[in-house]
């Protein structure tokens, strides 16, 4: 019987152009009762057979769970008819178009706005400082202020943050001062990073913000591992990790999502889909419907939100956090936005995308402006406040830079510390040797102090 069946298949498959799927599936359906009977009949243990499909020929308990059979030859589509919808609370003019969002009180809302403006100001001025040669490098978050501040505001201070490099706003929200930011960028003695890293690679234990590393997407499995540890500790907290659209192509993204689901780790996986990975547009990065659909592939609950809408981001993170902690599960958030600035100061994005496009997003989709409109609509913000805030922020940022520029660089001994918990003898010897050399040849080491 099986031979006939395969011959039948060959005949049908030979006329591919003429295949009528329905007629083919009818044939298949006819054969099926025979096949499952045959399957059952050579089971020595009848009970085993019934365990595997409960006696129901329509299903099979394969490794991984019960699956229903279908006579339909149906491939899941590669492109959906409609992209997954994007959750939004405020429209372009700051008017609420959803009643389904978490209410925030005036204090939080005003702090959110102030921090968004401060972040925007800091980014603009620090970027210029790099252009002037005062710092060597900088990364801005222009266009992503709502993602930074909206998400930060919805978290608790105990939630551990694993950033990529475009989330300085989260640290700002948590209390890192403008002087702290400037000190790190100048790599001076006030830098809590002891001048070890390039500018914009912030980190602060005090603020539960894990030090930024340049490696892409490595923070994703780190966040999952830390979330697993939080779970083992029974803490009322989660971890959150941020990454871009480009970072989702890495092996670490795959492993991180997969592990998070399998280990049931309380982690928020926040993707800033801003359309660009340096010069690579998302159309060259992946062919899926963005990142949100991948969550389902890993068994991770996911949502797509408007990344330029601070209230939507806040609500999504607030709810995701509750789910992550109370249900001990990972949650994936894809925030759609646009990278309105260049990738970094080493990039000129007008070389690979139209200036009009950049201008359009900056002018019409500014998340800061949208939130301001809502704030004013609430009666919580005025034009005089705006002028005062912008002026204050600008002065503070400039002051921080001026101070940071004059503070001396870290002591030379910091070359040798923190390599290990306790400095090994070879480094101790090298430090002594360096001290002697500097002493002996001071003219070669001006301003190099221990």
């Amino acid at each position: 019987m099986a031979l006939h069946f395969s011959k039948y298949l060959k005949q049908k498959m030979g006329y591919l152009g003429m295949i009528n799927l329905r007629s083919w599936s009818c044939c298949f359906y006819q054969k099926q009762p025979y096949l499952s009977r045959r399957f059952e009949s050579f089971k020595a243990d009848k009970q085993l057979g019934s365990l595997h499909n409960g006696g129901d020929p329509q299903v099979m308990n394969f490794p991984g769970g019960i699956v229903k059979f279908t006579p339909e030859l149906k491939f899941l589509s590669d492109t959906p008819e409609e992209r997954i919808h994007c959750y939004r609370v405020l429209d372009d003019s700051g008017q609420p178009v959803s009643s389904n969002f978490v209410q925030i009180d005036k204090d939080i809302a005003v702090k959110m706005y102030k921090d968004m403006v401060t972040l925007q100001t800091m980014d603009t001025i620090f970027y210029d400082a790099q252009r002037q040669g005062r710092i060597s490098f900088y990364v801005t978050a222009i266009g992503e202020e709502a993602i930074n501040i909206g998400s930060a505001a919805a978290l608790g201070m105990d939630d551990l943050v694993f950033p990529q490099y475009r989330e300085a706003g989260v640290l700002l929200w948590r209390g890192f001062t403008l002087q702290d930011f400037a000190n790190q960028c100048f790599g001076n003695k006030g830098d809590n990073g002891k001048g070890r890293q390039m500018p914009a690679h912030y980190g602060s234990n005090k603020h539960n913000y894990i030090t930024i590393a340049s490696t892409v997407a490595t923070q994703i499995p780190h966040a999952v591992g830390a979330a697993y540890s939080l779970k083992m500790d029974g803490r009322e907290a989660c971890t959150i990790t941020y990454f871009g659209d480009g970072g989702t192509s890495t092996g670490d993204f795959h492993a991180g999502l997969n592990f998070a689901a399998v280990m049931e780790a309380p982690v928020i996986l926040f993707c800033r889909n801003n359309g660009w990975a340096i010069s690579t547009p998302v159309s060259d990065q992946f062919r899926s419907d963005g990142i949100v659909v991948r969550g389902q592939a890993y068994g991770v609950r996911s949502i797509r939100v408007d990344g330029n809408d601070a209230l939507a981001v806040f609500t999504a993170v607030h709810v995701a956090r509750k789910m992550a902690i109370s249900e001990c599960r990972p949650v994936l958030i894809e925030a759609l936005t646009y990278r309105a600035g260049h990738h970094s100061t080493s990039d000129d994005s007008s070389k690979y995308r139209p200036i009009e496009e950049i201008e359009w997003w900056r002018a019409t989709q500014d998340p800061v402006a949208r939130f301001r409109k809502w704030l004013e609509g609430q009666g919580w913000w005025t034009t005089p406040s705006e002028i005062e805030l912008r002026d204050h922020a600008r002065r503070e940022v400039l002051h921080a830079i001026q101070v940071a520029e004059t503070v001396e660089k870290p002591s030379l001994k910091e070359i040798f510390t923190d390599v290990y918990d306790v400095p090994p003898s070879n480094l101790c010897d090298q430090e002594k040797s360096l001290r002697k050399t500097v002493e002996r040849h001071p003219q070669d080491y001006p301003h190099f102090l221990f």
């Binding site: 490595t218 499995p221 997969n258 592990f259 918990d421």
Partner: protein, 365 residues
Amino acid sequence: MWGIMRQRAACKAYHALNLEQGIRAIALRAFSSSAKQMTVRDALNSALDEEMSADPKVFIMGEEVGEYQGAYKISKGLLDKYGPERVVDTPITEAGFAGIGVGAAYYGLRPVIEFMTFNFSMQAIDHIINSAAKSNYMSAGQISVPIVFRGPNGAAAGVGAQHSQCYAAWYGAIPGLKVLAPYSSEDARGLLKAAIRDPDPVVFLENELLYGESFPISDEVLDSSFSLPIGKAKIEREGKDVTITAFSKMVGYALQAADILAKEGINAEVINLRTIRPLDRSTINSSVRKTNRLVTVEEGFPQHGVGAEICATVVEDSFEYLDAPVERIAGADVPMPYAANLERMAVPQVEDIVRAAKRACYRSR
């Protein structure tokens, strides 16, 4: 045998088993001298067991470490004893689970990550070096990474090129890492315990062929508080004519070579490095200053190898004491072949060490 070790190492209140213990002890005495024996596998297993028992933050993660009892049975019995939260079977992604382990260490746990062999660690090398080794420095002391990466390293038998590489030189070059290479059961127990207790990331290079080898072991070593200092080499055999340095399996070969050389009137001093990073420069140099001749032995590829570093060290610190050029014995500069005869030629053998020592002593070409 293993039951007795576990007995000593863990709870002592098994009254019911005292009789059994007594019988076994008598049997042991009847068969051997007063020295107890322990395989390297049991040494590692008991060390893991004791450290997990002593510190609830220690947990194991890797492929096949749980239900399968460990690809080489090093984690045997631990899943039953500590449960799936502390003995975690992972999906197949070294990069993934090394990253997960580093994240757990950032938070404050003490993971022991097993690579089925260190060849597979290359998939995770970014996390080992960029996320673990450099983190304390890059974060200015804010992030410490008390993680151990362990597994078999170097050549096994008949496993071909992608399963036979030695990674001592690669990891030994990285500031921020500590790299250990035990030889005997005492080394395995003491160094693994030290590695787990250490606040810095440690790469722990075992050897598959040594797992089944038995070594005599003292009561002191069996005590659960035992540990060996990191960064201290051991003089396995004292001598005065030539210094032979080795680590892991090659220590055994060097000792055999020393026996052969003794019959020919050459008294070799064998140093078991135990730690690759930080290298015990002072022990090596003191020895060379005594013997004036040096042979370095390793299984790994010769270029940029451990022997090259030892040679440079000795030239820097003890140049005037050298009476002969330094001899370097290493694996052949080819990917490991499979056929038994080819494999034998690609890895150092005892005769290679003997001949090198003789050359250093000007006894032959």
